[in-house]
């Protein structure tokens, strides 16, 4: 009994300690922000690795999600004779929810896991220690540009996802199922609100960008420097990011639209 309690206590302390280390790392990353002004090319290189290289998976996924929304939305709306509202349904679902959330999940799988593996391997091969001994701060030099790259790429990728998704919905709804072209666009234009829908979606994706990049970098930096340790850290990045994104999505949705 006492042993179980002690084990529970140790686990709890371990979690709190990791949380503490995570926050200290985030603080150190943010404190190094000014170094990016001196070396903007570090950020640009990471924007390419994290953002541009994720464009294909985001575009293809966005297209399919939009097409499915077109099919499902049309099926439901046609039961009420409201097929013309398909544009609104597709666009609202995408910009409010699916764009930010699915993009963040894909980002965690594609870019987050890659970041963790990269940083973890740099630690395992003593590259991070090597930088420290060359009097270069690895947090500023390696982590800060990757953090900002993730945080800036996420809203852009989410916007791309939503735009391609709307096109997917249009292809299926108008091209395949015969919804009126003009109604599709005009209803969307009339009903989608810049503040209510689009800004809130952008805020969500910024929050997800911060959280996913933070988790990925922390897991890599805190990984046990062995092959098994890096592999566990990579798995944790995807699992923790997915849970954090879905949990935070609920909280943010409740705050934004819950009145």
């Amino acid at each position: 009994m006492i042993e179980q309690l002690a084990r529970l206590g140790r686990t709890g302390l371990g979690i709190l300690e990791r949380l503490g280390r995570g926050h200290l790392l985030l603080w150190a990353i943010l404190a190094g922000s000014s170094s990016l002004l001196r070396r903007p090319n570090l950020l640009i290189a990471q924007m390419f690795a994290v953002g541009v290289l994720s464009v294909l998976i985001i575009t293809v996924s966005g297209l399919f999600v939009g097409m499915v929304l077109g099919l499902q939305g049309h099926y439901t709306l046609s039961q009420f004779g409201a097929e013309e509202s398909l544009g609104v349904v597709v666009a609202a679902s995408l910009v409010r929810e699916l764009g930010p959330v699915v993009t963040a999940l894909l980002f965690a799988g594609r870019a987050g896991s890659a970041l963790t593996a990269e940083i973890g391997l740099m630690k395992a091969t003593e590259q991070l220690s090597g930088l420290e001994m060359m009097a270069v701060d690895p947090v500023k030099r390696i982590l800060t540009p990757r953090f900002y790259a993730g945080f800036l790429s996420m809203p852009l990728l989410a916007a791309l996802f939503s735009s391609v998704g709307v096109l997917g919905g249009y292809l299926v709804g108008v091209g395949l199922l015969g919804v009126d072209d003009g109604a599709f666009w005009s209803q969307m234009q009339a009903k989608i609100d810049l503040h209510e829908d689009i800004y809130n979606g952008v805020i969500k994706s910024i929050v997800f960008g911060v959280v996913c990049s933070w988790i990925a970098l922390f897991q890599g930096y805190d990984a046990v420097p062995t092959s098994a340790g890096v592999s566990r850290a990579t798995t944790r990045t995807v699992v923790h990011s997915a849970l954090a994104v879905l949990g935070l999505d609920f909280v943010l949705t409740a705050l934004m639209f819950g009145d």
Binding site: T125, E126, Q127, G130, M133, M134, A135, D137, R141
Partner: protein, 268 residues
């Protein structure tokens, strides 16, 4: 600034432990300027940890580590980094940045810490690469280098800021005889030509004894013997004799502690 005959690194009463395991328990070491000092001992005695303590990557539990008259523990990050710019370190794996080629790896500390024009930087890097015999490999990526070549590139990088000392972490591990010979020659030559001090951590007895001026043997968290290679080979300590001559049995037993063989094999 400091007397020339004062030791470059002065370690006094060093204590360091990881969890419950005591790694160093009252260690005193002096690293003399301009010499190659070797720290030897069996695997797992914390030789690499010692280098990290000298470089300020770890903090001791007690005792002091002074480098060039500065107490590592009292330095803030900025001053520690300034001191590290005068220390070179060669890691066991080389620790080259895998996304940069050989030239850019060696140029890296210069680009980070100086504002030299590219033409001068190129000359400096090529001279350092020439010194380790790899000027022709400047465009190769780290993945295209053999283990020995990677260490030589790392050595060129460690030397590029003209440090006052270089620390070598197990430089001979896993090297073929030719690479080993090259590294031995380079360590001694760079030490003498650039008038730097070298700290060599290793358990390769014969190779280390060839080039070291002074050797510390560490075991069980303490310095068990110190002296020139000749003095050590004549040591009367049975443990040092076993270590220096690589004997399979002696004070360090061949068998891991176990119950008697009969007890284990015969049926109860």
């Amino acid at each position: 600034m400091h007397e020339d005959n004062a030791p470059l690194v002065k370690i006094r009463g060093l204590r360091f432990s990881r969890g419950d395991r005591v790694i160093f328990d009252g260690v005193d070491i002096d690293i003399i300027r301009g010499k190659v000092t070797a720290i030897m001992g069996p695997s797992g005695t914390g030789k690499t940890t010692l280098l990290k303590l000298i470089g300020g990557q770890l903090r001791p539990d007690a005792g002091s580590v002074e480098v060039d008259g500065e107490d590592i523990q009292t330095l803030n990050l900025k001053r520690l980094y300034r001191l590290r710019m005068r220390m070179g370190m060669l890691f066991q794996t080389g620790a080259l940045l895998t996304d940069l080629n050989v030239f850019d790896n060696v140029a890296y500390p210069l680009r980070e810490h100086t504002r030299l024009p590219e033409s001068m930087l190129r000359k400096l890097v090529l001279l350092k690469l020439e010194a380790v015999g790899l000027r022709g490999a400047r465009d190769l990526m780290p993945s295209e280098l053999s283990g020995g070549m990677a260490r030589r590139v790392a050595l060129a990088r460690a030397m590029v800021l003209d440090p006052m000392m270089v620390m070598y972490d197990e430089p001979f591990t896993g090297q073929d005889p030719i690479s080993m010979g090259v590294l031995l020659k380079l360590i001694r030559q760079l030490n003498d030509a650039s008038q730097i001090s070298s700290i060599l951590v290793s358990h390769d007895v014969a190779e280390t004894a060839q080039i070291a001026d002074y050797i510390y043997v560490i075991s069980g968290g303490k310095v068990v013997e110190r002296g020139s290679p000749e003095a050590l080979s004549g040591s009367r300590s049975p443990w040092v004799q076993q270590f220096m001559r690589g004997l399979p049995d002696g004070p360090v037993h061949f068998h891991y502690p176990a119950p008697g063989l009969e007890q284990d094999l015969l049926p109860q």
